[in-house]
Amino acid sequence: MSKMNHLQRIAAAITHQKPDRVPVVAVTISRSLKEAGYSLKEVVHDASKIAEAKIAAHEKYGDDGIVASLDLYVEPEALGAKTELREHVPIVTEHPLAKDKDFSRLVKPTLKDGRFPVVLEEVKLLKEKYGDEVCIGPVTGGPITTSANLRGVENLLMDMVLDPSYVHELLRLCTDVCLDYYRAICEAGAHAIIMLDPVSTNTIMSPEQYQEFTMPYQKELFAVCAEHSVVGVNHICADTSLIWEKMINVGAPAIQIDFPIDLEDCKKRVGPETCIMGNVNPIETMLYGNPDDVYNAAVKCIKAAGNQSGFVLTPGCDLNPKTPEENIKALVQAAKDCAYDDDGNVQF
């Protein structure tokens, strides 16, 4: 099969065509700053430096996609959550609705506020550099995760039982902010948007709560992606095995699966319509393992979910900045060593 470029390879996986080999995204968001020698403080409001770091990481590792943006606090920050920069990531230090749940005093931000312009500019710069050669997609927070960052996750979980209509009203506000943001990301030239929705995980929300409080709003946002022919990725951290059948029904053609999950079981249950991304353990294997451990774990993932396309090899989550370089190279190498045979099965 003729060689594909990075974007074509991922597009083939998403559309269940046969790629020339298994696509891989190393998810080096915070790691990329190290590649360019920047601290978080130096880059957080500087799109060109962030883009420079992402380019440095991509050029070094040769993976197929670049994850734009730095974190999932862009939306809550613009809505009034206080954040502080730490060594590698920002953290939320104050939830504006924790004590007083009334959100009428929050000001609905425009796309000129907070770090929205930084992310949009980063996407534009990456697109200028790579055009349709490399898959470019920013991470954003999902509406329920943004709501939790505003209200505090424990309060929000109790609200879901005691005052569900309040939760829906807050979700409406967060989703409206996201709708504008998603349109702008699509117009900036992104190929994909990765919605990070850690609050929806099975260890925090029940499947019924996912259905009631997450799905309708995810659907609205992934519909924006679909209108713009942009690939929506539904990424929920940790264990999601109780909600896979629901996760594939919100209009996202791909789901990203974190590490504690058996991908073979996932592939069976998810079926042939959805692309699975995952799931080498970002800590135990990527951070603390050696290159052989990484390679073997990657091969295991590919064998479990790679057959008949519909699979992109990734770590379960963003890599720790201290992840050894050789381990990231071993992850990418495993995908490069893996082609599809005439029956659509993976061969090493």
Binding site: S30, R86, E87, H88, V89, I91, V92, T93, V153, E154, L157, M158, M160, V161, L162, N202, T203, I204, M205, S206, Q209, C237, A238, L242, N281, P282, I283, E284, L287, Y288, C317, N320, P321, K322
Partner: protein, 214 residues
């Protein structure tokens, strides 16, 4: 008679009925039931059952939080009636979310389940510097230091806590237990901690196990 009202308290808490829990707690005290029994054989027993249901995925965190809140309110009713007794505890724990991480839900749930299992718990909150764990552990003579984290960038801080506990002559016998999204057995071994758990109700069991070895 006493058994009935205690069972009713357990039932009310397990069905997450706040009003009923508070009313039955008042009734039990009026009927002259020993306040320690109301707490241990009513409220805490109920919370343990909620924890079990959570473990079996019949319940989710919303339920646990609401049950814990009802228990806390009921405890305010009981407290004035409690004779200040030095009743034996399962052990003393200093807990916190490590520096660089502000996620507190896991830590709070572990605290709830530890208390339900009769541990004395000192909660240092979130974004806790390694030395703070050590200072508090020395002050209260902690049996266990419990570190919570979700973000992997905070892992080196856990390693620091483990090292500081090992280096501190006054903390011989103090064990470190860890938990949070990135933690597995292999990561626990790597960091040199004594124990770990994948969720809060298992964390309480792991804490009890570590106390047996103490």
């Amino acid at each position: 008679m006493e058994g009935t009202v205690l069972n009713q308290i357990v039932e009310a808490l397990v069905s997450i009925d706040r009003t009923q829990t508070l009313e039955l707690t008042k009734k039990a005290l009026e009927d002259g039931v020993d306040p320690t029994r109301v707490l241990n054989e009513g409220l805490l027993k109920g919370l343990l059952e909620v924890g079990e249901k959570w473990n079996n995925q019949e319940y989710f965190i919303s339920h646990v939080l609401l049950a814990a809140q009802a228990l806390q309110e009921a405890n305010l009713i009981i407290e004035p009636h409690l004779v200040d007794s030095d009743s034996p505890t399962a052990g003393t724990v200093v807990i916190g979310t490590v520096e660089g991480d502000i996620h507190d839900i896991g830590k709070n749930l572990v605290t709830i389940m530890l208390k339900a299992n009769n541990f004395k718990v000192y909660d240092l909150g979130v974004d806790v510097a390694p030395q703070k764990f050590i200072d508090k552990a020395k002050e209260v003579g902690a049996d266990l230091v419990a570190c919570s984290l979700i973000m992997s960038v905070a892992l080196p801080k856990v390693e620091e806590v483990v090292q500081l506990v090992q280096d501190e002559a006054n903390l011989t016998g103090t064990k470190v237990i860890i938990g949070g999204a990135p933690i597995t057995q292999a990561v626990t071994d790597q960091l040199g901690a004594d124990g770990w758990a994948p969720n809060a109700s298992q964390a309480a069991k792991e804490a009890l196990r570590l106390m047996e070895g103490a």
